[in-house]
């Protein structure tokens, strides 16, 4: 399992009710179910991946986060997880609002567009950056709204949402992000992981 999922799993206490939005093949869901006795549900748009979740015995709803989160009542989950998908939505702000309505807390991870390799890539080559976390070309990428860790922090603060924990992930290294090191983390982290609440 990728390191990102281990970090997410560490943020969630045992026996909670969790919704994994864009749960893909259910790797994180299975881990949470088996290791933390989590009552876990998934929402996934891809038919193939829905089948994979069902084959793992996971409860998954085929659907689109931008339309289908609406059906869940307020605060019906302890945590709602959104892993590296925010940038792919037509309206990320609406999705964040929905995550924070449906979940008591939300865990959102974003690929950091401020990561130094991306900056160097664009600076030296003059073409849209392609990296491990952003492997697609500009014309076929599902990512519509890329942002940096700094952008995301600013956005959350501007909406008066609370950030409980901000973590920077770079390969195996996990570190805390705070006001003082935000600029540095924004340069050296591949991934930002945020625990937020409305």
């Amino acid at each position: 399992m990728k390191n990102e999922f281990k970090v997410i799993a560490d943020l969630i206490e045992k026996n909670k009710k969790v919704l994994d939005v864009g749960c893909a093949d259910g790797t994180l869901m299975k881990f949470l179910k088996d290791n933390k006795n989590i009552n876990i549900r998934g929402l996934e748009i891809s038919k193939d991946k829905v089948q994979k979740c069902i084959a793992k015995g996971l409860t998954v709803i085929e659907g689109n986060a931008e339309k289908d989160l609406m059906q869940f009542p307020d605060k019906s989950f302890d945590y709602v997880v959104l892993s590296q998908t925010l940038q792919a939505f037509l309206n990320p702000e609406l999705v964040i609002n929905e995550l924070l309505r449906v979940g008591k807390k939300a865990i959102v991870t974003i690929p950091n567009f401020g990561y130094w390799k991306i900056r160097v890539n664009l600076l030296t080559k003059g073409t849209m950056p392609i990296t491990k976390t952003l492997p697609d070309e500009w014309y076929n990428t599902p990512n519509l709204h890329m942002c940096t860790i700094k952008d995301f922090v600013h956005f959350i603060k501007s909406r008066n949402f609370k950030i409980f924990k901000s973590l920077a992930l770079n390969n195996e290294n996990v570190s805390l992000i705070n006001n003082a090191n935000l600029g540095v983390k924004n340069l050296f982290a591949e991934l930002g992981i945020f625990l937020i609440e409305k």
Binding site: K47, V50, Q51, I54, A55, K56, G57, L58, T59, V60, I61, E62, G63, Q71, F72, P73, S76
Partner: protein
């Protein structure tokens, strides 16, 4: 049709009050079983059949000498594995394969009921079938499964008996019949009524049956079970055993011939009055209405795990109507999964060899059974 077959029959002694107000008792339910019930009696699955189905889910149907209607899904090592599970399926009341229906004699008058048979509902069908659980001494089913009208019965069953099933699988169905659904059913009923042989439902007494009307009803309905794309790919404008158009009204096109064939084989196995009664039961189905318009309330008392399945090309019970059930369940935090299966075989997809569907069904059942 072979009518000398010994059907398995349960005579229900307990009176059953129907939604129409009448009460029936000492009535027969014809059923079939597959696989074997384990000692703990926790491996039973009740399958509900669709409009024109019957109790012969799998193997050879002894009446038609064809494969059972759900042979793709039910059998040894199949999605609903008869090596593991004990399968029960019964003919719905109002039907024509042994369960109490309009072709039976009214015990009071000794005359065939015809349209004097009480109008039945999905709720009545389910309440009647619940007697099978007592018959087998099953307190809780492992699963209730059904497609189309079978799915409606699944929903009604878990609403009526919230503790009697661990898993619930409504497939390609709806929580209430739409205007379009009712319209197609009415077309079928009017086709039957327009056949002079129907004779206000008294055709048994004059020994002729409304074959033509029933065949037209079936032809119309059959179109709704397929998709435009499926029909186009299978038939297109292909001609039936001829080089060119004949400038007449014979079946020039393969699709015409196919529909005529579907109509003609149907009348050999189905009773026209049963067709009226069962389509009526479907039209009357509105589970939300039973709970003052709040569908969620139908499921409030159950802890069962739901898995809802729809098909992309099903325009009779489209994905959105299936999703409405998912939404009602999510609104109360029920354990519900949902998958829309890609298929261009239309509503009939659930009866056919659609691997993604059969795999999902098998995985859901088998994984749930392990956790059982």
């Amino acid at each position: 049709m072979n009518t000398d077959i010994n059907l398995k029959i349960l005579i229900v002694k307990k009176p059953l009050k129907l939604d129409c107000g009448k009460t029936i008792n000492n009535f027969p339910i014809a059923y079939e079983t597959y696989g074997s019930l384990n000692e703990k009696k926790d491996n039973a699955i009740l399958i509900f059949h669709a409009l024109t189905g019957d109790q012969f889910v799998s193997g050879l149907n002894p009446i038609t000498n064809k494969d059972g209607w759900w042979s793709y899904a039910v059998g040894p090592n199949k999605a609903i594995d008869t090596n593991k599970y004990f399968i029960i399926c019964s003919n719905v009341i109002g039907g024509c394969l042994g369960s109490f229906g309009p072709s039976h004699k009214d015990p009071d008058t000794q005359k065939v009921f015809g349209i004097n048979f009480p109008v039945i509902t999905i709720n009545d069908m389910v309440n009647a079938q619940n007697n099978l659980l007592d018959h087998f001494g099953i307190k809780k089913l492992f699963s209730v499964v059904g497609g189309s009208m079978g799915g409606m019965q699944v929903l009604q069953f878990i609403s009526n008996f919230p503790d009697k099933a661990k898993t619930v699988i409504p497939i390609a169905c709806t929580s209430n019949h739409s205007a379009q659904n009712i319209a197609f059913n009415e077309l079928g009923r009017q086709a039957i009524a327009a056949d002079s042989n129907w004779n206000e439902g008294n055709y048994n007494s004059i020994d002729t049956i409304p074959n033509k009307g029933l065949a037209v009803a079936r032809m119309a309905a059959h179109i709704t079970y397929l998709s435009k794309k499926g029909l186009q790919e299978k038939f297109g404008r292909k001609l039936q055993e001829r080089e060119d158009l004949k400038f007449g009204f014979d079946a020039d096109f393969q699709i015409e011939s196919y529909l005529r064939y579907q109509g003609s084989v149907f009348v050999d196995r189905f009773d026209a009055n049963s067709y009226l009664y069962i389509t009526r039961a479907m039209d009357y189905f509105d589970l939300g209405k039973q709970f003052n318009g709040n569908l969620s309330d139908a499921f409030k008392k159950t802890k069962a795990k739901f898995f809802i399945i729809s098909f992309t090309s099903d325009w009779l019970y489209p994905t959105q109507e299936n999703k409405d059930i998912v939404i009602a369940l999510n609104a109360i935090g029920a354990d519900v999964g949902f998958a829309e299966i890609e298929s261009d075989k239309g509503h009939d997809s659930f009866l056919l060899n659609v691997p993604d569907f059969l795999n999902a069904l098998k995985n859901f059942l088998d994984k749930s059974y392990i956790e059982n």
